[in-house]
Amino acid sequence: MVKMILIAIVAPLLAFSIGLSFMMIKRKVVARIQRRYGPTIIQPIFDIMKLLLKEDNISHGVIFSLGPIIAIAGSILSVFFIPIAGLNMLTGSGDLIALLYIMAIGSLGMALGAGDSANPNASIGISRALTLMFGYDLPLVIIVISVALQYHTTDLSAIVAAQANGHWALWSLPLSAIVGFVVTYGALGEHPFDIITAPHEVATGPMVEYGGKHLGFLMINHAFHLYVEIALFVDLFLGGASNIFIFYIKMFAVFFIMMMFDEVLPRFKIDDAVRFFWKWPTVVALISLIIVLVK
């Protein structure tokens, strides 16, 4: 029981710090690609702290304030479903499927809150977010199915265990892995999929009315989000890890490749993005699924 409580405290903290460290590194790396030095490495901490210290002088209703909380709650919940280095508490059969649902809570929470802000930009942003989710969920579901079929389980821990000793799904299911990478990339909203917040189009979309503490929560949520998406990919295709350091290195490698693309591509239009997801990733995922089925 004590162990459970300990894990319940440690796991989110760990997830948060990993996500935060990625945020820190990203700002530095982006800056270097852009031929500049960028902020001090701990700048995101200052930002979050400052936002939390801001005074509130707006109210758009309870739902508006609840949005970020729901988002964070959803993200933390998903953290418990993802096994890292033996830290897996809410395991049980079907947890991969459950995870997929729980991961959507974040977006829905945002949708709830932002929808309450009565700003057309926020509404457009939310509709874009949901549309995009709709777009990448289809290939995601297909590859999850492929992986599940490959390992005959929906238990993430089991999938991770099956990939031990270098038998990664990346090697056995290369096509699914590529699709998985693209989908994870899309889910993180990096360029060219930063359609939801696109400042030049919808002025940061759902976040347009959020400031201060709410924005701070959203930044924290982003850290969790980063962690959840990448950790899921690592668990599914890179065989998880037996200890936290290796897990971190694997996650970082994935994130680093993502950053490379992030800074050199302009963004998609929402319909193009959905079309994109339903075209190549879906087709490739299906091919991969067929390969699995045939094998």
């Binding site: 057309p120 696109a198 189009e201 050199v264 239009k269």
Partner: protein, 367 residues
Amino acid sequence: MSKSYELFIGPNHPGIPGNFSLKIELEGDTVISAKGDPGYLHRAFEKAMEGRYYIQNLALIPRICVPEPDINEAAYAMAVEDLMGVEIPERAKYIRTIVLELARAANYTFWMGGFAGTLGLYTLAQWSFGDRDYALDLFAEICGARVYHMYIWPGGVRRDLPPGWEDKLLGYVKYMKERLIDYDNIFFKNVMFKYRTKGIAVVTKEQAIEWGATGPILKAAGVAQDVRKDDPYAAYEYLDFEIPTLTDGDSWSRAMIRRWELENSLNIIEQAVKKMPKKGPVWEKMPNPLKWYVPEGETYAKVESARGEHGFYMVSDGTGKPYRVAVRGASHTHMFTIAEKVLIGQRLADVSHILVSLDVCPPEIDR
């Protein structure tokens, strides 16, 4: 989704090029009407100029268009010279050409960053704004200010080039040509750029002529109209350069024309530096500023700005202050006659990059 709704883009919106507002009506994600709302940058230039001496206006005119102030200075100076019947010295002509082309190159560099920014590619913005900064430093060396140069004035230019400046300039040109390869790689040859802009916001040749478009919009539609060739001013008649044209008239063509013109400008600078007389006067003596009475008359002086034809209509009543100065900015037509029409039927996501691809410069509209 048949219900239409209104959306204000600007004045405080990153998708708007400057302090300007656009009221668009959307049906779903599609624009069904767009109305520009200018006036946020209205400073009453034309009124203020009537109350100042000819030389005092030197402080005002560059502020009409911020990204490329030199065209205003040149057009103003040309209008005054025209009314006074003054021919400027040869070297001054070349210096003007170099300054104008450097400003054009800087403006296109700046524009490039802004355009990439609207498409979500911030890396190019970071690069090109930083590279433009070197050009601003070059300006500071000849005239003492980075942004508002006040360097070209009636009769020629304000100071001769400082020693060694030409070499620095050529160094910058060389640097920019190297950078252009990087710009091409990250943006102009980028598949996503092509994907986003090809076939968007087409202004056909007929439409461009009918609506009175000038500059890159017209060139992208296939008409080689350029004041530098048609009515050469400064030293353009002595220089060898081509007017680029493309035929599609879409957002992509306009962007490519500007990319092309940027390279063109760099070439013109190299050429002008080579051909420029190495010594000689750079200013034709003008009267005492307080008693600078310009002969009565009306004239229209025009130059080619980065956005199109930029002109000054100047009326003098024979006193020391202009009677009326009317400024023609290319953006005026481009925003209200072209953008408002072209935006209809476009997607919300494209609005901001269409505005930038038409290069709408609000200070030029409001004045």
